[in-house]
Subunit: 426 residues, 2 copies
């Protein structure tokens, strides 16, 4: 196949009508396929079935410190769960707070906390800063942008490349004291799948923001979500910030949502002593403690961090073939020059850049053909992708057969949109 920009008008028109024939044939099939969200498949959920039985089978719900996990108490989590999640987060257990079922909820609660209670005592709470701003590396996670949007932050997009956010731009933007933080998914970033390079992490750790209460929302959602043995490794943000005297800057989050059961997992956060003081002051009023039976269930099921990592290999065995289908189908488009995409070694997404100005059209065409994708623009604050180019593909949920069909549809739609666009431009 030739590059589309080397085709004549006649060749493009011929290609377009062939593609529309394929498209119309597909529409008649009445497909209903979904590649919209990063949701584990039933095969993956089945991997954790025994966790539902482990407390009953062992007939004892006592934590290692003697706490009856069936009763009230323990605000920051039972010790064995703090230890397990500390290993996941790469910190010491004393830095960890175990939450409910969702790291998103912990992130929301953290921003919410600082809205009314200053994270650095003596500074104004964020609700008192009328022009408060947050840095949003793009493309990024729509639910992150949802949180800061809800709390009235102006969200400033910062472009990502294969190494992470554009640090020249970040270093310039943090000179503004009303810039209060930055969202980061440092490993297998949602959606681009890239991991922050060592240089980027070091530059982040070395930042000197004008705002003393600038905070990194370090969402390590995919920290152990590798697809292959050859996987990405990122520097430990707390270790790097320790070196630069910035240990109060990062707040790290993770959960077992994509390890055991999404919505019934265990979330955790890690932060410095100063940050934890403010955060735990809040939790002291917010809760008597989160679900200790679910914490115990997780610990009993995995045993320890090694057990959890072994479990992740089972997830990888289910996920890897799905990513392979997506990547091989996208590979058939490469010659056209109509798409650019990454080859992630973990995480939940393949980020595809279709021809500028066609992402919305591709998503709409896919929808007509019965394939549901994340809305174009969703990976940008305010849903505004200035290039109308980025589409997030989530390969995890459909079966391999469904995924194959869905990707065929996607490829046809991406081609159609590209050719239409070129016809319109020229």
């Amino acid at each position: 196949m030739m590059k589309y920009n080397e085709l004549s008008k006649e060749q493009r028109d011929a290609e377009l009508s062939a593609l529309w024939e394929d498209m119309n044939a597909i529409k008649e099939k009445g497909l209903q396929l979904n590649m919209a969200r990063g949701v584990p498949s039933p095969e993956q959920l089945a991997l954790s079935k025994e966790m539902l039985n482990v407390l009953y089978a062992e007939a004892d719900c006592t934590a290692e410190d003697g706490t009856d996990c069936r009763n009230y108490g323990v605000m920051d989590g039972i010790p064995e769960c703090k230890r397990l999640m500390a290993d996941v987060l790469g910190v010491t257990p004393d830095m960890v707070m175990i939450g409910g079922n969702s790291s998103l909820n912990m992130m929301f609660d953290t921003i919410s906390c600082f809205m009314n209670h200053p994270v650095v005592p003596g500074n104004p709470a964020w609700s008192l800063i009328p022009d408060r701003k947050f840095l949003c590396p793009v493309p990024g996670y729509d639910r992150h942008f949802g949180v800061t949007g809800y709390f009235g932050f102006e969200m400033i997009p910062v472009m990502m490349d294969d190494n992470g956010p554009d640090m020249d731009k970040v270093e310039e933007l943090i000179q503004d004291p009303s810039v209060k933080g930055m969202w980061c998914v440092p490993k297998y970033s949602n959606p681009t799948g890239i991991s922050y390079s060592d240089e980027v992490v070091r530059r982040i750790a070395a930042m000197k923001p004008a705002a003393p209460d600038f905070r990194l929302m370090w969402d390590n959602a995919y920290c152990i979500h590798d697809l292959t043995d050859e996987h990405d490794e990122i520097l430990n943000i707390f270790e790097e910030c320790e070196k630069t005297g910035n240990v109060d800057m990062p707040i790290e989050f993770c959960s077992t949502s994509k390890i055991t059961f999404p919505g019934s997992g265990v979330a955790a956060m890690a932060a410095s002593e100063n940050n934890m003081r403010v955060i735990k002051e809040k939790y002291q009023y917010q809760t008597i403690g989160y679900d200790k039976l679910n914490m115990l269930r997780h610990v009993r099921f995995f045993g320890d961090y090694e057990g959890m990592k072994a479990h992740m290999k089972k997830h990888a065995a289910v996920l890897k073939p799905r990513f392979d289908v997506v990547l091989s189908k996208l590979g058939t488009l490469e010659d056209t020059g109509a798409v650019w995409f990454n080859h992630p070694r973990g995480g939940y997404f393949v980020s595809v850049n279709v021809m500028d100005g066609t992402a919305k059209r591709v998503v709409a065409l896919c929808k007509e053909a019965g394939v549901n994708l994340t809305g174009a623009g969703a990976t940008y604050p305010y849903g505004n992708d200035p290039y109308d180019s980025n589409i997030r593909i989530a390969p995890s949920f459909p079966s391999l057969e469904e995924l194959s069909s869905a990707m065929d549809v996607f490829c046809i739609c991406a081609r159609i949109a590209a050719l239409e666009k070129m016809n319109a431009l020229i």
Copy 2:
């Protein structure tokens, strides 16, 4: 035994030295007993053991609408759980939002929400009202006061009597537009154990607060927590508020913490459409949905509301003898005139008023003798009981034998403190 205020100085001194002999004998025993918090006993927790197995045993985690409860989604709860908790709350399922493991957390989140997002659009958010105030019927629940204290409300105590809060006072106070709400535990109030009379509920429903965004935090924590078949009934707040055109005023809360497992239960709230719009706007960013497996676990375990009520009778069978011990021991003090206490027909507490100015002394004496009580004053905002008289006794956790010993200690300490006080006064 004679009333203490009819004793001569000599008689009081003789009584005091006899009591101190008893006290010193007790101290030598080195007791370690706890009547501090309303915590179910191991016997009660065992009643729900089968709930830990029900999902595994049935090998299917699909909600009635086809939702896979092991996966992401469903922001406001699965339909069968909304229906069950709607029955508990006395509302229709469409008014219900299911939360995480704690109604306290939902109350905190509700106040937190209104701090930055006006519950009545067009009004200033509560964080913008510098002299914001909240009405706190006293004695009341320390964790309620903790929440409004944390968010900077001035907390105005309103005395409770056997029918509920002093409504003359409430009606006067709500003329101040900076009074934004009131905490209520309408049934088996924490700690007094009384239930709001029909007249009080009707007067509450008919209130015309100066603040259009005044909200009732209607914490129906003990709504089905009856000790006997002869139990209290309260009017339905939503029905009463419907009649008075005040349906946006109440927000109701409950949980299964004292029905299944505290900390691993299911919390729920109910509110009008207008309130829910604001609250769900928040939840949409705060969570992808709470723990659906735990919701399903509860529904499968109970079947329906009738099943849950049958389960509560088993709790009552464990709790009733404990309340009987407390009440019969307190009964031995009645002739002295040194205490006044209630006879609750449900809930988790017996509220005791010792002689004015002696509550702190009684709690301290009990502690010396190895009996831990809720701190004196904890039932008042800022820990400030102006009469230093109220002590909350929580009979649920200790065994009957422990409780009997603990109450013997309590009675001795209450006598000593009363006699000391009289000697000091006269």
